[in-house]
């Protein structure tokens, strides 16, 4: 009995090409929905009127679903909070003023994508180097690179701030982008190296014999084969960079501040603790770009990860 349940779950036979029907969809939908609930609650909170955020019992749904849900669990959805993200009154009885969040969103998108792409470029070159021209003690170097991810950011922050000040990078885009690039490099190099390791060397050798230069081999032969890996690395890097907080707090200036830092505006909102609906609205908006990127690169994501690590 237990075994047949295990079997049905796919415990033994778990192949991606295996087909299952709508029954499976239903079962997984229940689990996925429960898993998603805390996020859904945040998204719903973004649509609640400000005073409804802390009602007891909590309001759980924007609609009564034709009377299915009792009235005291239903809230009246509003878009007001999304407006407040960008413009609201900052002083008692004051007129609404711009909060700067348009800038913060732009900063987040610009900084995250620029640094992840830069890390991808530099890291892919390095990964190719590590993979094709292994040095003596290659593994040691790679491990040292990994250790840069192991220390809490707080340790390096003072020298970095000092460095930025003298070079004039504090509060600039370039500084924070370079820092994030370094922050992403370890992961990028580890991922991309494993992809290059998996490539069959035959084609490259053939291309070399045909007289292609190293650059040509890299761009025309190797790179196209690791597109999925690049996509997977991009998504992982994006997710990790998107929500980075400490470096952003300490190294960005008022003009280059990112959303995770500015988000605390809503956590301690104008001297009155958490503005729940505002925080939810910011988070909901902030979720959209990375959600879309992940969704559209989803297929690459699975393929990329697999490709990189099969046979390891």
């Amino acid at each position: 009995m237990a075994e047949s349940i295990l079997g049905k779950l796919g415990f033994g036979r778990a192949s991606g090409v295996d087909k299952a029907g709508w029954g499976r969809t239903l079962a997984v939908a229940v689990v996925a929905f429960i898993y998603f609930l805390p996020v859904l609650f945040i998204i719903f909170t973004a649509f609640k009127p400000q005073g409804d955020a802390l009602l007891v019992p909590p309001t759980l749904s924007p609609t009564s679903l034709f009377g299915l849900i009792p009235d005291h669990f239903v809230f009246k959805p509003t878009l007001e909070n999304f407006g407040s993200v960008f413009s609201r009154s900052m002083t008692p009885d004051g007129a609404p003023e711009a909060t700067g969040f348009d800038r913060y969103f732009f900063n987040s998108i610009f900084i995250a994508s620029a640094s992840v792409l830069l890390a991808l470029v530099i890291g892919t070159l390095a990964a190719f180097g590590f993979s094709r021209y292994p040095l003596k003690g290659n593994d040691t170097y790679l491990f040292i690179i990994l250790t840069t991810r192991m220390l809490p950011a707080i340790v390096v922050i003072i020298p970095v701030i000092l460095m930025f000040r003298v070079v004039g990078l504090s509060g600039s885009y370039l500084g924070i982008i370079m820092l994030y690039t370094a922050f992403n490099l370890a992961f990028t190099i580890w991922m991309m190296k494993s992809f290059f390791d998996e490539l069959s060397p035959d084609v490259e050798d053939a291309a070399r014999i045909d007289g292609s230069s190293g650059m040509r081999v890299f761009f025309k032969i190797c790179l196209p084969q690791v597109i999925a890996g690049l996509a997977a690395t991009f998504v992982f890097g994006l997710i990790l960079t998107w929500n980075e907080f400490l470096f952003a707090l300490l190294l960005s200036g008022p003009d280059t501040r990112t959303v995770p830092v500015a988000m605390n505006q809503a956590v301690s909102s104008g001297g009155r603790g958490t503005d729940w609906t505002l925080l939810a609205a910011i988070e909901t908006l902030f979720l959209i770009p990375v959600f879309l990127v992940t969704f559209f690169l989803q297929n690459h994501l699975l393929r990329g990860v697999t490709f990189g690590t099969v046979k390891r």
Binding site: A126, Y133, P152
Partner: protein
């Protein structure tokens, strides 16, 4: 692998040529040591930086003259890592041997004094050890919870079924949330007056339920939130492993009438082991750094202070910079031991089986 067609002779250590990186290192080490010991931090910083640049330049010239294309490919990455990561890390490593507070202008060499202090001093050691034990506990609980939940989720998604793509993205969403927002919302979920959890349990039991009022509850609350956020990461890696298993192996197993349990250990597990290891490695490293959720949910109350939070207090709030550096190198040492242990076990299994 590479045919190095170079006849450039290795220079003697003392030869002053641009590609003599050994000399560059020697000069850099001596100059850095002297400047760190003798000059104020703000000045020695630049001396050390210049020394590092000298070494990097020597390496590059050396690589170029010898046609080490590998080295040239790797150079930009190493340069960025060096400036932004390794150099600051070395700087704080150096600091950990000095008595230095960031908000004061004095600096004094104390050797291993900081390490001795954080491990044995009456005022400091108690917190360090307590935090280390708590961190070990969180590493065990959060990582195992993530591995188990992530694994089970991956099993659920391992087959093709209608709408799979849409359901998968739902499960992936938690790891895209910012820790601030999700942490703050978890304080709400757990709140005894306003929160959903207490509301549901109160309605059923009739008594006031307060999750975070004792250590068990507080740890459970933190572990749950962390595992919820990061299990999708494990799931993604495991899922990738699962879909890479050749289908014919399962067909053979069906024909050989092998039980599901045995199929898992014989077929599935070997294919996902590498990815599980990778997930384990990355999650363990992150679990060691667990601080933000603790700060948001308990402020370290109910004996949930982690080493990373302790470090933030020491290095940031109290500005005991060099003591903080010592703590972080203690952490680094432990993470390195642990990850090497993982890698060792993983490799031993592969070779021994």
């Amino acid at each position: 692998m590479t045919a190095v067609s170079s006849t450039l002779p290795t220079p003697r250590l003392t030869a002053v040529v641009a590609h003599n990186w050994k000399l560059a290192i020697a000069v850099a080490v001596v100059v850095s040591a002297i400047s760190m010991a003798g000059l104020p931090a703000a000045v020695s910083f630049w001396v050390v930086g210049a020394a590092a640049a000298l070494v990097a330049a020597a390496f590059t010239v050396n690589a170029y003259r010898r046609h080490y294309f590998g080295a040239l490919l790797v150079a930009p990455a190493i340069a960025v890592l060096f400036v932004m990561n390794i150099f600051p890390l070395l700087w704080s490593l150096g600091l950990s041997f000095f008595a230095y507070q960031a908000n004061q202008q004095t600096i004094r060499f104390v050797g291993l004094g900081n390490y001795v202090r954080i491990l044995t001093n009456d005022l400091a050691a108690h917190a360090t050890w307590g935090a280390l034990i708590n961190t070990a506990m969180f590493v065990v609980f959060t990582v195992s919870a993530q591995m188990i939940v992530g694994f089970l989720l991956a099993i659920l998604f391992s087959k093709q079924f209608p709408l799979r793509k849409y359901l998968l993205i739902l499960v992936l969403t938690p790891m895209m949330l910012s820790v601030v927002a999700s942490g703050v919302f978890f304080t709400y979920y757990y709140d005894p007056t306003f929160g959903i959890l207490s509301y549901v349990i109160n309605s059923i039991s009739g008594n006031q339920f307060i999750l975070m009022s004792n250590k068990v509850g507080a740890v459970a609350g933190i572990v749950f939130a962390d595992a919820w956020m990061w299990s999708p990461f494990v799931m993604l890696l495991v899922l990738a492993g699962l879909v890479s298993v050749p289908k014919y192996l399962y067909e053979a197993a069906a024909i050989d009438r092998i039980s599901s349990w045995r199929q898992f250990w014989m077929i599935t597990f070997p294919y996902i082991r590498g990815l599980l290891m990778l997930a384990l490695l990355f999650r363990t490293i992150e679990a060691f750094k667990l601080a933000d959720l603790v700060i948001l949910l308990t402020k370290g109350g109910n004996d949930t202070l982690t080493i990373s939070y302790h470090l933030i207090r020491i290095a940031n709030e109290q500005n005991k910079t060099s003591e903080g550096a010592a703590i972080s190198y203690l952490m680094l040492f432990m993470v390195i031991v642990l990850t090497n242990l993982y890698l060792y076990l993983a490799n031993r299994r592969t070779q021994g089986a």
